[in-house]
């Protein structure tokens, strides 16, 4: 009896423990075998096929993308599964090396796309997609998806950088007009500064590991408008050095605003505070009037919806609203070169469904569907886009700029350069803002080219 009493709890415990270990083991094995080949692409049983897309856009942008192709997918029995990843640019390299690939990748930088192409895992586009890309996109854009004479992908959306955000009512009050040249812009800043006694321009370079990119974009815009497209192209390719006189001149021009303690950093502090300010935080200061001007791409518009004007209301964005933007005036009057960005789709296999999606993404039908998404923030450089479909006045003007045959479009220099140079570029801009002498910052960035390729 004694033995029995002592035995039973321990026996129960033993059974439990054994059960636990077995259960865990079973779960582990089940984990290995839950591979479901039926769900992978191109093998649908009822004609329903799945195509996976992996890209950098998350949150509201991801929702917009999903909405843009939902109707087409339904009509064509193709389920498009989009996975967004904020760390796309670093994780795609791991996924390519580990052969864990989606059907289609969405590359935010042409440099990244060409690096992917050089691994040999990206497939060339079908004849139908190639014809569609050639029909819908300008040669500038075709160049980004072409390598060694072969086409590997299609441009998707686009954005235009280099807008100066301002408050129209304040401009009227100070008697300042929208400047026509870069020199006018600098003199306007001086005029505002002497009127208000406070710094008129604000900027924010802080963006985590990518800190410095807003400054790099600003510099690229100045280089393109002061030195011209051919110098810009050779600069992006590394043939024109950062220490070259043409780039040095752009640094000096940019320094007239960003290094002038009288002009920056409105609403935040001194010149060095540019580095500690998050890039999107400038919107709040422009909205409440403490910052007269800031330079940022079209996407800043969305940030104004959570800011307040001096009166406490949510600012209206528009030519007659509380906040509006004009294109960064060029150094030489009459030049119409814009710096922008965009995403590119490239396929990793040649399955029929994947190629069908690629053809659709290159079509004017998708581009029109993308810009008409409710409250959408995307625009496209697709020539088939009907600008009147875009309800937002700012985005509509950006589309018109992209479609204008006289516009010279160039990709943001940092995004088009090799990744090591891009990172050095960003860091160099941060160091320069922190007070490193201009020549030293230029030499520091230039040194990174030695590690590229």
């Amino acid at each position: 009896m004694t033995a029995q009493r002592v035995f039973s709890p321990s026996a129960r415990r033993r059974t439990l423990a054994a059960l636990a270990v077995t259960a865990v083991g079973t779960i582990a094995l089940a984990g290995c075998t839950t591979a479901n080949p039926g769900s992978s692409s191109g093998t649908g049983t009822t004609g329903q096929q799945t195509v996976t897309i992996y890209g950098p856009d998350t949150g509201t942008e991801a929702t917009e993308l999903n909405a843009s192709w939902a109707a087409w997918g339904k009509a064509n029995n193709i389920t498009i599964k989009y996975t967004g990843d904020g760390n796309f640019t670093s994780n795609i390299a791991t996924k390519i090396q580990g052969s864990d690939l989606p059907n289609i990748g969405m590359f935010p930088q042409p440099g990244l796309l060409s690096a992917a192409i050089s691994t040999g895992k990206v497939t060339t586009v079908s004849a139908a997609t190639e014809a569609s890309v050639k029909k819908n996109f300008s040669t500038d854009w075709q160049g980004y998806v072409t390598s060694g004479g072969k086409m590997y992908g299609t441009p998707l959306d686009a954005n235009v950088k280099g807008y100066i955000w301002y408050t129209p009512a304040d401009f009227k009050k100070w008697g300042v007009d929208v400047p026509k040249t870069y020199a006018d812009l600098v003199s306007d800043l001086g005029k505002i500064q002497s009127t208000t006694g406070a710094a008129p321009f604000c900027a924010g370079f802080n963006s985590g590991t990518a800190s410095g990119w807003p400054g790099a974009d600003f510099l690229a815009e100045v280089v393109l408008s002061s030195a011209g497209p051919s110098t810009y192209d050779s600069w992006v390719k590394g043939k024109t050095k950062f220490t070259d006189a043409s780039i040095d001149k752009a640094f000096t021009l940019l320094g007239q605003i960003l290094q002038n303690p009288k002009y920056v950093n409105a609403g935040f502090g001194n010149v060095a505070s540019i580095n500690s300010t998050a890039f999107a935080d400038v919107a709040a200061k422009v909205a409440d009037g403490s910052c007269a001007m800031t330079n940022q791409a079209t996407f800043l518009e969305a940030n104004f919806s959570t800011t307040k004007t001096k009166g406490g209301a949510i600012p209206k964005v528009g030519p007659t609203g509380d906040v509006w933007a004009f294109a960064l005036p060029s150094v030489k009057a009459g030049s119409n070169a814009v710096v922008g960005g965009g995403d590119f789709a490239a396929a990793f296999d040649s399955k029929a469904a994947t190629q069908k999606v690629m053809t659709y993404l290159s079509s004017a039908a998708w581009a029109n569907s993308l810009i008409t998404v409710q409250n959408g923030s995307f625009i496209s450089a697709n020539k088939g886009v009907d600008a009147s479909n875009e309800k937002d006045p700012l985005l509509q003007s950006a589309i018109k700029t992209l479609q204008d045959p006289n516009t010279t479009f160039r990709f943001g220099a940092d995004d088009a350069m090799p990744t090591v140079v891009e990172n050095a570029f960003w860091k160099g801009i941060v160091d320069w803002t922190n007070g490193m002498p201009q020549a030293q910052a230029e030499a520091e960035i230039q040194a990174a080219w030695a590690n590229a390729s």
Binding site: V24, A28, Y82, N87, N91, Q97, D100, F299
Partner: protein, 322 residues
């Protein structure tokens, strides 16, 4: 009969002795440490350490426009509460909703905690109490694996899962055939298990090897096999060590983002992935982050508070008795 009689009783006796020794040590150090100055210092430190978290909590209940334009301390001058951030966060959809990702996190975390503990317990017992050739060498090998950063293993592991291994034309492991962004949870469970094992084996081995030799010998003399010793003596005695490692592993996996983004996709993302996406591509809705953070720490808090009495005891036990 006698064997089964002795184990639980002696096990209990050891447990009681351990507890008594611990409480004696605790009282001793309590006497030495509790002075007025120490208490005040502890309170001051605790308050200072809590201020940022408190600020985050206040922020999560403020209006988005207020968050964007002023600091959280201005809340006390102009209180304007809202739970809009929480509802917006819960309604946030990025392939999946925040709620679904919370469930995904649990589905990832629970097996990723249990599997390494089950494997490591067996390994730790073998390293501590089973004699076999090359035991020390093997243990050093496992131990030294701790210094391998998991980042360097990502690409080979991913390649192993998708391509398998082929040596001389013979497929040793065919791969999991999970190509594309359509993977199941299997890969992330295995990945987390692999990355956790070296530390798990080391910690549990230190604890298990410190159990008194006498009970093991008594059990052997009474005819207990390794299996019986493991289940009836080692498992019950190692509970504090298991609990403390379980907390560590749970928190590590729950907070993990890197391994999750590499080994899961679309519908399987954990809550950390949704948190990084909350602010949007251009950081437009970053004011949701404070609310998201508080939703995400619910599970770790529950685990920590329910297991915390094991935590300190188990960690000390594992660390000091090497």
């Amino acid at each position: 009969m006698i064997a089964t009689d002795i184990d639980p009783r002696s096990a209990r006796r050891v447990e009681r002795a351990t507890r008594r020794a611990e409480s004696a040590a605790f009282n001793d150090s309590k006497k030495r440490l509790s002075s007025k100055g120490a208490t005040i210092a502890a309170i001051v430190i605790a308050v200072f350490w809590t201020i940022p978290t408190f600020g985050l909590l206040v922020t999560s209940f403020r209006q988005p426009a207020d968050i964007n334009t002023s600091g959280w301390w201005t809340f006390f001058a102009h209180p304007d509460l809202t739970i809009q951030n929480y509802t917006n966060t819960l309604n946030f959809t990025d392939t999946i909703t925040v709620g679904q990702s919370f469930v995904n996190s649990l589905v990832i975390v629970i097996p990723a905690t249990l599997i390494p503990i089950a494997v490591a317990l067996l390994a730790a017992y073998a390293f501590a109490w089973v004699d076999f050739r090359g035991k020390n060498l093997l243990f050093i090998a496992v131990f030294s694996l701790q210094v391998v950063p998991l980042q360097v293993a990502l690409v080979p592991l991913l390649s192993l899962f998708s391509n398998g291994i082929t040596i001389g034309g013979w497929a040793v492991f065919p791969g999991l055939n999970l190509n594309g962004l359509d993977g199941s949870f299997g890969r992330i469970w295995l990945a987390h298990t692999m990355f956790a094992l070296p530390l798990a084996i080391f910690l549990l081995h230190n604890f298990i090897s410190a159990l008194p030799v006498d009970i093991m010998e008594a059990a052997r003399i009474d005819g207990a096999s390794h299996g019986q010793i493991f289940f009836r003596i080692v498992l019950p005695l190692a509970r504090p060590a298991i609990a403390s490692f379980a907390i560590l592993q749970f928190l590590w996996v729950w907070n993990d983002l890197l391994v999750a983004t590499i080994f899961t996709s679309g519908g399987n993302f954990p809550i950390t992935k949704l948190l990084t996406d909350l602010s949007g591509t251009y950081g437009t809705t970053w004011y949701l982050l404070s609310a998201g953070t508080f939703l995400a720490i619910i599970a770790p808090l529950i685990v920590f508070f329910s297991l915390q009495r094991f935590f300190v005891r188990g960690l000390l036990a594992g660390a000091t008795k090497g």
